[in-house]
């Protein structure tokens, strides 16, 4: 058979065109998959059973404080030696990967001797890319610990093979626009069951998830801890036994804690109210809150962040108001807080 130069050129051209068409097709398909509408799942629907506390922080750049924080964070990532392409990626693509909201949920079963944590990172469509991250994501979250993939009740999870317990992250899953990281697999399964309504929340959980729903509708950060069933007291008792240090000895006198945080362009301000069961232990609660404020000040100071606050008794509550300054400078310097 005589293969002429012309024939080879034709084949090459056709093959090249074919590959180019495939790449273009793949990119179009990938973009459709990546950018197609993603149903939003609010964090309050993912509250595991026996939850007694949550915090949630809205990181949407619509908030001017968050926008300033994000800009400074981007600036801190771009150095003099950063290339143009990398700088462009940080400026233009990074905001798409920035979470819209972070929520933390703490639960404690009646018979358990360890609290369970779930961190929910609510993202945009880019959460889909995390499904493709595979090994690098495992290593970033769990280090060199071996992991396994599990499918339970139709939902996929990735978990550390032999979790050591404690407060270290041990499993994760992706649910619609949320990335869920838990201290054990069971707490993530619990969250999933609450979402699918395979489990029914109790009255108190309904109440707490209602508060989380309200909190997620607003800007800033919110904190809530309920001690009506004594879970908050047990939580501090576990911390005391673990670290041989009583961080909050008067916690039994507290019925609930509510707090809020507002991001301003130059600083962060917030307040926490400790609702007490009666008047008799107010002085002790005030002393504990003052100590916690002192500890926070000293921890922040180690990262060159200043905090100023005021603790006072109001009726049967102890109020704590604070301002955090230089937070942006610390982020620019790349300090860990």
């Amino acid at each position: 058979m005589n293969i002429t130069k012309e024939t080879v050129k034709k084949w090459a051209k056709r093959t090249g065109l074919g590959i180019a068409a495939l790449i273009v097709g793949f990119l179009i398909g990938f973009s459709i998959w990546l950018l197609s509408p993603l149903p939003q799942l609010p964090p309050w629907k993912l509250m595991p059973s026996s939850s007694f506390a949550f915090f949630t922080v809205n990181l949407d750049p619509v908030d001017p404080g968050i926008s300033a924080l994000l800009e400074k964070f981007q600036e801190s990532m771009i150095g003099e030696e950063t290339g143009r392409l990398k700088s462009f990626a940080i400026k233009k693509l990074f905001p798409s990967f920035f979470p819209k909201r972070i929520t933390g949920l703490i639960s404690l079963e009646n018979t358990a001797d360890e609290p369970r944590f779930v961190f929910i990172v609510s993202m945009g469509k880019m959460v889909r890319l995390m499904k493709l991250a595979g090994g690098p994501l495992d290593r970033a979250l769990f280090g060199e610990k071996p992991t396994i993939k599990l499918r339970v009740e139709g939902q996929s999870y990735r978990s550390v093979q032999n979790p050591e317990g404690g407060m270290e992250p041990a499993a994760f899953t992706i649910l619609k626009n949320n990335f869920l990281l838990g201290t054990d697999l069971s707490v993530l399964e619990d969250s999933f069951r609450m979402y699918t309504r395979a489990s029914r929340p109790g009255v108190e959980e309904h109440y707490l998830s209602g508060l989380l729903l309200q909190a997620t509708l607003q800007r800033g950060g919110y904190l809530c801890a309920d001690n009506s069933k004594g879970q908050l007291s047990r939580f501090f008792q576990i911390i005391q036994d673990t670290y041989s240090f009583a961080a909050f000895p008067s916690v039994d006198a507290v019925s609930s804690i509510m707090g809020e945080l507002h991001f301003l362009p130059e600083e962060v301000e917030g307040s926490v109210t400790f609702y007490c069961k009666g008047q008799e232990s107010l002085a002790e609660v005030r002393s504990d809150v003052k100590f916690i404020y002192g500890a926070m000040r000293r921890v922040l100071k180690a990262s060159d962040v200043d905090m100023k606050g005021n603790v006072r008794i109001e009726g049967s509550c102890v109020g704590f108001e604070f301002r955090i300054m230089n937070l942006i400078n610390a982020i620019q310097k790349g300090d860990e807080i």
Binding site: Q240, Y243, S244, F245, A246, A247, P249, S287, K290, F291, G294, A295, R297, R298, V299, K301, A302, S303, E336
Partner: protein, 316 residues
């Protein structure tokens, strides 16, 4: 007769003063130290003698504890010095042996030997023999010398040479102020010198390790002193003094003293120990008074962990 009577009374008073104000061991602590603890009347005081006995016989045995079983130290000073580049803070320990039995040479060597195969070397320095081992990173001590009735251990030979050379911490104006602040010496005296911000620098590695600024007012402090009394194995009392350099910063110093008192309280609550403290301001000084009851189990726990690891940042 009157003269003999006067001499008897004078001598009695002098020896009493010596036992209370003894403090002979700081004479061998160089002025460059960051902090120093002196424990006096070790054999005579019920609280201190119990502590020493509990430390010596705690389960975590060491050659130093073996040595202390055979000697009768009357007084002891332990001092911390700035670290050499890339190493831990240097330590110096001076013991006053009085007229008690001389220490056994083998037991002394064991304290500095990292392993039995290491060769003990010696060097003569200003008429004193220094025994040492060559090691890059001594666990606690790697050199010792016996000067009359004083036994001195050091992290290295340099710190021992400084102890022999002087000048002693007793010559420092700050130490004199601490001594003047506590005219009635109790069982122990702690002195932390912040001259040239040396105490601030000492705290820095601890702060980095714990990600926490321990004293917000550290830079405004001239010195920190503490006098403490072990009444018995279970009860202790102490006074901490934070001497500020400037009265305008007194609120910050007071805040630190209160935080420290509250931190102690929370530690003791977790250990089921009774603790009471008060904070008062006197001029540019802030004074923290503490009373503790039921401390025996905590001492035992501390001795099992290794007490030197608490004062030497970076060591485990």
């Amino acid at each position: 007769m009157k003269i003999i009577g006067f001499l008897c009374v004078f001598l009695t008073l002098f020896f009493l003063m010596c036992s209370v104000y003894g403090a002979e061991t700081p004479a061998y602590i160089p002025e460059s130290c960051i902090s120093m603890v002196t424990v006096a009347n070790i054999q005579g005081d019920p609280g201190i003698s119990w502590m020493l006995d509990a430390w010596i016989h705690s389960p975590r045995q060491s050659p130093l504890r073996e040595l202390l079983k055979t000697i009768k130290a009357r007084e002891m000073s332990v001092a911390v010095f700035p670290p050499k580049q890339g190493s831990l803070h240097s330590l110096l320990c001076v013991m006053d042996l009085g007229k008690g039995p001389k220490p056994d040479k083998e037991k002394l060597n064991n304290v500095i030997l990292p392993d039995p195969d290491t060769q003990i070397q010696s060097v003569s320095y200003k008429g004193s023999m220094i025994f040492y081992v060559q090691t890059d990173s001594p666990e606690d001590f790697s050199a010792y010398a016996v000067l009359q009735d004083k036994l001195i251990f050091g992290s290295d030979t340099d710190v021992l040479k400084k102890a022999i050379d002087g000048p002693s911490v007793e010559k420092s104006a700050e130490y004199q102020k601490v001594k003047a602040f506590f005219p009635q010496r109790k069982d122990g005296l702690l002195f932390a010198n912040n001259d040239g911000a040396r105490f601030v620098k000492f705290l820095q590695p601890l702060e980095e390790k714990w990600n926490m600024t321990l004293l917000l007012s550290a830079e405004y402090l001239n010195w920190m002193g503490s006098s403490f009394d072990m009444l018995d194995s279970n009860q202790a009392s102490g006074i901490f003094v934070f001497q500020g350099s400037d009265e305008s910063k007194i609120e910050d110093i007071q805040d630190d003293a209160e935080f420290l008192g509250e931190a102690f309280k929370r530690k003791f609550i977790a250990e089921k120990i009774d603790y009471k403290s008060t904070v008062e301001v006197k001029g540019s000084a802030v004074i923290l008074n503490m009373q503790i009851e039921g401390i025996e189990p905590l001492w035992k726990k501390l001795f099992e962990q290794g007490i030197l690891s608490l004062i030497r940042p970076g060591s485990e």
